[in-house]
């Protein structure tokens, strides 16, 4: 959180992973910082901070967004899901399991964002082909894997 005097604040009300959250937040607070620093939902990562990498991806009212580009106040009244909320209480989603089975994970820093974007691809299209998956994940950078095994996981799980 920014440490500034006389900040304007806002009474934020937002549903996160199914829980209604009410907090007073500075108006300049980014959604990413609100999730990470205030709520300790640290699955979303900051990598570029400028909307280019997708590591901070969360799902807002059914659409993936880069939470580094959104102010917390813009999330007022919305329904947000983070990787923590997408993960079932027991076990994993099919896609998470596919990432493990297909060896799609290396360092893991991009992976929460990648999985949320991939869930979105599969949600938008029941049986995405390789090109569709590529388009859907083009906003998510991974520096480790070369993407091949990520494609395999998203395609396979969509089969």
């Amino acid at each position: 959180m920014l440490y500034v005097e006389n900040v304007e604040t806002f009474d934020l009300s937002v549903t996160i992973n199914g829980m209604e959250i009410k907090r007073t937040v500075p108006t300049h607070l980014r959604l990413l910082d609100f999730l990470r620093d205030d709520l300790r939902l640290t699955g979303a990562k900051e990598v570029c901070g400028e909307g280019e990498c997708g590591a901070c991806t969360v799902i807002m009212d059914g659409e993936t967004v880069n939470s580094c580009l959104i102010l917390a106040v813009e999330a007022h009244g919305t329904n947000i899901q983070t990787i923590e909320g997408v993960t079932p209480a027991e076990g994993l989603t099919d896609l998470q399991q596919a990432f493990i089975d297909k060896h799609s994970v290396q360092c893991g820093y991009c992976i929460p964002g990648m999985i949320l974007s991939a869930e979105q691809v599969q949600c938008d299209c029941e049986n995405p082909d390789r090109e569709t998956v590529k388009q859907g994940l083009a906003g998510n950078i991974c520096r480790c894997t070369g993407y091949k095994k990520i494609l395999d996981a998203v395609e396979k799980d969509g089969e």
Binding site: Y3, D37, C53, I100, D101, V105, Y109, C142, G146, K148
Partner: protein, 758 residues
């Protein structure tokens, strides 16, 4: 080697995958401690000069400000140079690049620390900066250090003049490679926690925990034994977290001691790019003498490296590039000079391949130019000269076994249908197509120049309940070390892998195992596991024999079970408890070091590395005649890795390394404005995305190395080494112009197609 193992050689899933797919893995950025405060560096914003005044008052009036620390606050030595002692922790009074840290601001929150750091006002006397290798070389005074040469390495074998005299053709060419930013996704970060005994505990994204231990002890002026360094999961490193974390951790440690509170420091992305190391740009000159039949007879090679403001790891990058200068070929007469020059740019240091990708770009472009001159197919030319068992390397090291270079070449040739693609291009009005090959070798571990650091340990501890803890000293930076360590340990002990927990690397648990670099983890940790298991075996067998009333020779431990003369009698749980109640020793330290290497550093002759990994890539490209854009449709990547411990994980390394190579070859262009990085984030520094990458086909060549654990050699770095050269060769083939400088940006390619010279 033909024995079937339960885990080794199998593509078992990653042991740390669940935390990573659920977001539960806690990276250093995800840690928040009670009473934690934050530190952030302020740094020079001129490339070269002298500090004349520091005014902290604008920073000090910021809410949350706690204090500033700079050179005069260092109780120990103001020195973090990892090999050459040329690098202060805090610049004083000279600043040598934009990003040279002058001090840190400490504040109650992260954003307060970052904001305040920007407000510190520094006055300088400015000097004339130097940015290029050529200007650095030409300087006659105002050197950046005592001189502008950071280091030099050489190889002198045979007599090049005799070789050139005997040659039918002498061919010369120049090559250039650019900076590359690691762009690991997780930024540099650490937390320092002061301890009651006057010591300190560091947690962080750190490849080399023992480097950090040494640096922190030195800066604080305390013994290494009270500096504990623990590695948190690393969100990508690629060499970028080899030496840089020593700076971060020493700075955070100073603040932790001063304020007696935990201190966190994480770089924001722009600063991470401006302040930390990159891949060395090289300029390379080749003069090669060949016979008309295509035999290499003599080579004179000059490698020049831009070291940036400090030497950091230039010494070893320069060493490695000199040893690999002529590639995996037989060459009777050779002279190599590899020199790193200081400039007023950010430092260059360790980056996957460590000088080898640059050296390979030189020798593999050169091989294609020679092939073109002689009218010989590039594959043929390589096969005429490639190193085979019994041959001498360029340093006159005799290779006996595990020399798979030839097989990597022939297998990519066959898998890519080289002959037909090379001869029949599929050009159309829009696209020119081409195919190119590049072969390479990679000396495993640290080599003769780093032999003193080339030992590593593991500690295996069996618990009373039959679970097993394994501590190691290197790093999992995402490549899957935890998984292959588990596989090797389970097979070495004959137990189920579920029993094994690999502990986070921690300087308290394992003796100094050197750096987590040089693709050395599988070889070093694997051999140390074999040693520990061999030491535990007699203890386990004696106890089992006693427990079962037989002799140790008839005991076999396999698959979690205890057999007497091949009859199942008990299991590992029962044995573990029996060991405990019998007061047996239940832990062992395993240790392995690279055998002594006979090497003459003056002549550059001898055993430079104990063994080599080999790799050959073929790239198939399409070049857009209208835009100059290059598309890499497919890469065939053959790797001789001795033995694949985890084939799927290994493929992942090859795919990832190859993709970084594609970025380096095509889009990753670094731009400065008088020492300030302009390409300091993803909107300007273009990494390959999923939409940009074509297919990668990995071909594993298993040519076991007797000194490698279960025959294995390193793969992490070989994965990237030949890629850019193969792409440049393919583009040259496609457009009919020799492309000797990367990145192959659309402008460069279009100029070449249209006959404009640079």
């Amino acid at each position: 080697m033909s024995k079937e193992f339960k885990y080794i050689g199998k593509s078992v899933p990653r042991v740390d995958a669940v935390g990573k797919v659920t977001g539960q893995t806690r990276f250093i950025t995800d840690e928040y401690l009670d009473r934690m405060i934050y530190a952030y560096p302020f740094y020079s914003d001129i490339p070269f000069g002298k500090i004349t005044a520091i005014d902290i008052s604008p920073a000090a009036s910021q809410p949350g400000f706690l204090g500033v620390l700079s050179a005069s606050d260092i109780p120990g030595q103001n020195q973090v140079g990892v090999i050459i002692e040329d690098q202060p922790l805090f610049a004083d009074p000279l600043v040598r690049f934009i990003g040279d840290s002058i001090g840190i601001v400490v504040a109650e929150t992260e954003s307060a620390a970052r904001q305040a750091a920007r407000l510190v006002n520094i006055q300088y006397e400015e000097f004339n900066p130097i940015f290029s290798i050529n200007d650095s070389k030409a300087a006659t005074g105002n050197f950046i250090h005592d001189s502008n040469v950071a280091c030099q390495h050489q190889v002198d074998k045979g007599d090049i003049n005799t070789g050139f005299a005997a040659a039918d053709q002498i061919i010369e060419a120049d090559f250039k490679t650019q900076f590359q930013e690691h762009y690991y996704l997780e930024p540099q970060g650490c937390i320092a926690i002061p301890e009651e005994n006057g010591g300190i505990t560091i947690h962080g994204s750190i490849q080399c925990i023992y480097y950090v231990q040494k640096a922190v002890a030195r800066v604080l002026g305390i013994p290494q034994s009270v500096v504990k360094v623990i590695q948190t999961p690393i969100g990508g490193a690629f060499g970028g977290k080899e030496d840089i974390p020593s700076e971060l951790c020493a700075r955070a440690a100073l603040a932790a001691v001063k304020f007696n509170r935990p201190v966190k420091m994480v770089y924001n992305r722009r600063d991470d790019v401006q302040l930390t190391s990159k891949r060395h740009p090289f300029q390379i000159h080749f003069k090669v003498g060949v016979s008309n039949a295509g035999k290499l007879l003599a080579a004179h090679i000059r490698l020049e490296e831009n070291s940036g403001a400090y030497a950091t790891l230039s010494t070893v990058v320069s060493y490695r590039s000199s040893i690999h200068a002529m590639g995996p070929y037989v060459i009777p007469n050779i002279k190599v000079r590899s020199t790193a020059y200081y400039t007023n740019l950010p430092t260059t240091g360790a980056f996957r391949g460590f000088g080898s990708p640059q050296a390979t770009f030189g020798h593999e472009r050169m091989m294609d130019i020679i092939a073109d001159h002689l009218g010989i197919d590039p594959v043929e030319l390589r096969l005429k000269n490639v190193l085979r068992p019994g041959d001498l390397t360029q340093t006159a090291q005799k290779l006996e076994v595990s020399v798979g270079a030839e097989e990597t070449i022939t297998s990519v040739r066959d898998r890519s249908s080289w002959n037909s693609l090379r001869q029949n291009n599929q050009n159309d009005r829009r696209y020119l197509t081409g195919i190119g090959i590049a072969a390479s070798h990679y000396g495993n571990c640290l080599g003769a120049a780093g032999w003193a650091l080339d030992g590593a340990g593991v500690k295996i501890q069996i618990r009373r309940d039959g679970s097993v803890g394994l501590a190691y000293g290197l790093a999992d930076m995402g490549q899957g070390a935890l998984t292959v360590i588990t596989q090797m340990a389970a097979d070495a002990l004959g137990i189920n892998s579920q029993r094994i927990s690999v502990l986070a690397p921690n300087t308290d648990l394992v003796p100094d195992s050197g750096p987590g670099v040089a693709s050395r983890n599988v070889v070093m940790t694997g051999n140390a596991i074999r040693d520990a298991a061999a030491k535990l075996e007699p203890i386990l067998k004696t106890a089992a024999a006693e427990m079962l009333g037989t002799d140790a020779e008839s005991i076999k431990i396999e698959n979690d079970l205890i057999f007497v003369d091949d009859v199942k009698k008990s299991d590992f749980n029962i044995l573990a408890d029996y060991l405990f109640v019998g007061n047996s020793q239940m832990d062992m330290l395993g240790w392995w070091h690279v055998p002594a290497l006979e090497y003459d550093p003056v002549k550059g002759i001898g055993e430079a590395y104990f063994t080599y990994s080999y790799a050959t890539h073929v790239a198939k490209v399409r070049v857009d005649r209208l835009t100059g854009l290059v598309f890499v449709d497919k890469i065939w990547a053959a790797h001789d890795i001795g033995k694949a411990i985890n084939p799927a994980g290994l493929e992942g390394q090859v795919e990832g390394g190859t993709t970084q190579g594609i970025g380096w070859a095509l889009t990753e262009q670094f731009k400065f404005d008088r020492g300030r990085v302009l390409t300091d984030n993803l909107s300007t520094y273009l990494l390959p995305t999923i939409a940009d990458v074509g297919e990668v086909e990995t071909i594993l060549v298993e040519n076991p190395e007797p000194l490698g654990p279960w025959g294995a050699k390193g793969i992490g770095e070989p994965a990237i080494i030949p890629t850019a050269a193969a792409i440049a060769n393919a583009v040259s083939h496609a457009i009919g112009v020799q492309m000797n400088e990367i990145p192959l940006t659309p402008e460069k390619v279009l100029d070449a197609i249209e006959g404009r010279t640079h």
